[in-house]
Symmetry: D2
Subunit: 264 residues, 4 copies
């Protein structure tokens, strides 16, 4: 039995993260009595001692596969729960000091259009990341939500109106594994921080509502970013909260950006 991975490397240097990127698989979740089906992009890494040439990559895949199969009869509770089980399984197969797993996916939310009150489904990008460092667990949840900014400075100086544009808001929360946080609550915090929410379906009255809302609530990217930080710090305790807003300026080729961090 040849185990090239266990040989001594040419340069005896510890590596921080070794593993797999961009693996895709099918995962079924049942969270809060709602069923989610993900085809996430998965990254999974561990550290590697200076005396080993390589990790056994197939053990990463086996850890993922076995956890997904074991639990397939009843659906999984959450991506972070699966992630924890995978890293625990990996620990048995392959010793490490630190390891992490990341899932990149999308979730739908059900919304009502603002005036006509019709059902509309909105899709949001999410990331769920779980780290084990020397036995202690940290999770990092992230959502990206589309909205808009209406420039308050241009509104103040021009009679005819202002410039308005699509923007993307992000909220990232780093917290203890056991601190229960819903991605939908995070999405709602970002959604409420823009000049207006956006909707896939908008009847004429809804569209007027959104246009008026943007003019009544003009915001810089800095304002959106602070709104997210403020709402999130009320809602999510014992967390490191990071917020971003990127705005696809309608008067420029470039984007404008704001980022802030608070701890609760």
């Amino acid at each position: 039995m040849i185990n090239t991975q266990d040989e001594s490397p040419a340069h005896q240097l510890k590596l921080e993260r070794v593993g797999i990127k961009n693996l895709k698989t099918l995962i079924k979740i049942n969270r809060n009595n709602k069923e989610y089906r993900h085809i996430p992009k998965i990254n999974i890494f561990m550290d590697l001692n200076e005396d080993k040439k390589g990790v056994h990559m197939s053990r990463f895949i086996e850890s993922i596969t076995e956890i997904l199969e074991d639990e397939v009869r009843d659906y999984h509770k959450s991506l972070e729960q699966i992630g924890k089980h995978i890293l625990e399984k990996l620990k048995i197969k392959h010793s490490y000091v630190s390891a992490e797993i990341e899932f990149e996916s999308e979730i739908p939310t059900q919304e009502l259009t603002p005036v006509s009150k019709k059902d509309t489904i909105e899709i949001h990008d999410i990331k769920v990341r779980l780290k084990n460092n020397n036995g202690s667990w940290t999770k990092i949840l992230e959502v990206s939500v589309v909205g808009n900014t209406a420039c308050p400075h241009a509104l103040a100086v021009n009679k005819k109106g202002t410039h308005i544009q699509r923007a993307v808001g992000k909220l990232k929360i780093e917290t203890d594994f056991n601190n229960d946080i819903d991605l939908e609550d995070m999405i709602e915090a970002v959604n409420s921080s823009f000049s207006s929410k956006v909707f896939t379906l908008l009847k004429t009255d809804d569209e007027s509502f959104v246009v008026d809302k943007m003019h009544d609530n003009p915001l810089f990217v800095e304002d959106v970013c602070r709104n997210i930080l403020s709402l999130a710090s009320l809602k999510f305790k014992k967390s490191k909260i990071c917020a971003e807003c990127l705005s696809y300026e309608s008067i420029h080729r470039h984007d404008v950006f704001a980022e802030g961090v608070v701890e609760t």
Copy 2:
């Protein structure tokens, strides 16, 4: 000497396009007394007879390399001129019925801000494509330019204003190789078709000018697309003209789109 490429293939089927994608190299152009330096992404293909297993890929690269070296002392005249020389060189090295080459790059234009009259440099995506079919040459030039749309319907129905967003306009011209067309003229045609031009630099007075311009000139993506078609068909004769506009809606997560074609 083993020439696997010239062997008979398992399935004797003609192939339409065989060659290289995403090759990058450095190209220097001197066009209209202005110097351009490109690091384009290059695609180059030819057809392949049913009786040959493969093309000789290195002859594509040699054709590119030799043309770029031969002409390096004086700068090249244009990307389409280099492309023609490369496909002519390839024809000597490797027989074909049809072949094509495509360059994907960017060019800067020098603009003046609308009120403060300051110099500003704007960067635009371009594609230059050249096809040889049985000895006859066609070139296809394409530019992508950033601008904006202000919705005329929302402006008509709302008192407070309208929704505005970043948009991208495209103009593609297919014409005879000898029909001299400047990419800068194509960029100008797209630039003039939006609710307003956008600028990298905008002082407060310039910004007000752009905001007013957008409100005075509200346009659907359909309008922008027709504006491009109309301007381009006045300027560029004996051509197949294709125009597109894609708008990153500020009130939706999705984009809206229009595309049209005219022949001159």
Copy 3:
């Protein structure tokens, strides 16, 4: 009631395609007793007469939303079936001569590893496109599958081995709406056309099997492309079949490419 869309445009030009790009929503399919859940990227377009300023974009969304809701109790039969219903619904809401809809998504397939015979789930990119032109329906199905190429020329001239690399194969089939074709059969045709299939999970014996397979079955991109064309033309009748192979060369920075078309 103001209907800016129905006004006369500044330039009276017909437009080929007007509509929506990059809309995302949730779709549930039950095909061949297997349940699929998609969050596809959707594009939907129709033509626009020269005498109308714009289309009514919200009618596109309503057509999508109503079809998805109407049929939500029992799952949908296929993406092309939903697409047809959406375009039929759109025809009632908004007259057109030609219209099309495209879904971009992913599907999982269940495979067995080649030696250890373990279950493994593989994810593949798909596109389903449906066109209505003057009442007649065409569908275009497309799959993208990851595999590899081992260079037969280098294998013939070198004692130590050859160069090997990841490759992507594509199969696109344009056919009548009623010609029943399974995306899984298309995936299988591409999968069988590489030097070897690839797998997410590979135990040591499986890995050796794949490495040997690649050396026993060296192929150019041209060979892979012709293999796909040949397999597909046996399986899929009354179709226009287009195949591609792109190889991420391990000895170059650039990619090599082959594309062919046959009609059955």
Copy 4:
């Protein structure tokens, strides 16, 4: 004169980074008597106090524009030198505690093919980032270079050969502004760390050389990563050195990855 930016924000929170993303412009460099022309993507940020509603975005652009114009007669010395001048100019226009600027671009290197000794131009991705924190300057230089890995484990266990694939190596160096480091030396360090260098042009003898080299020098991503760390730590002193290798596995759909850090 209305200065909305200087008003008090709704939520008095400090922001870490506010500014501009994805701005493109034209920059001419003359470094080591070689002329480079970049159309970089530029990001530029500063911190923002809790008592100001927003930054003055146009001052970022003016700082960039004025520096590029001031120095246009003689070419610029390096991207990091321009970056420093821009951040110094910005400090005069707009007070900050910390600020940073990042340039994302490409540079060509001139290589000789290994056997036929022909000239070949290779293009590499680079990033140059400069940070000012309370008056002290840090620069972060990054290069991404394409190469390959040949699996040593598969080579050891199989008679027919191994699996080989394209890989990308990264080297990131964080150091004092005055520590002179050439991007070309960084590229060379990564280039020498793969199973073999890759070349755009390869004649048959060159190709055989590369194929043999890969089989004589089989490496895991971990090996490539440690090779980069080892070469870089010999060459670049007083630096924090980060290396990565990502390999597009030819036997899998997913990628494998290694990352390490050393300080010199």
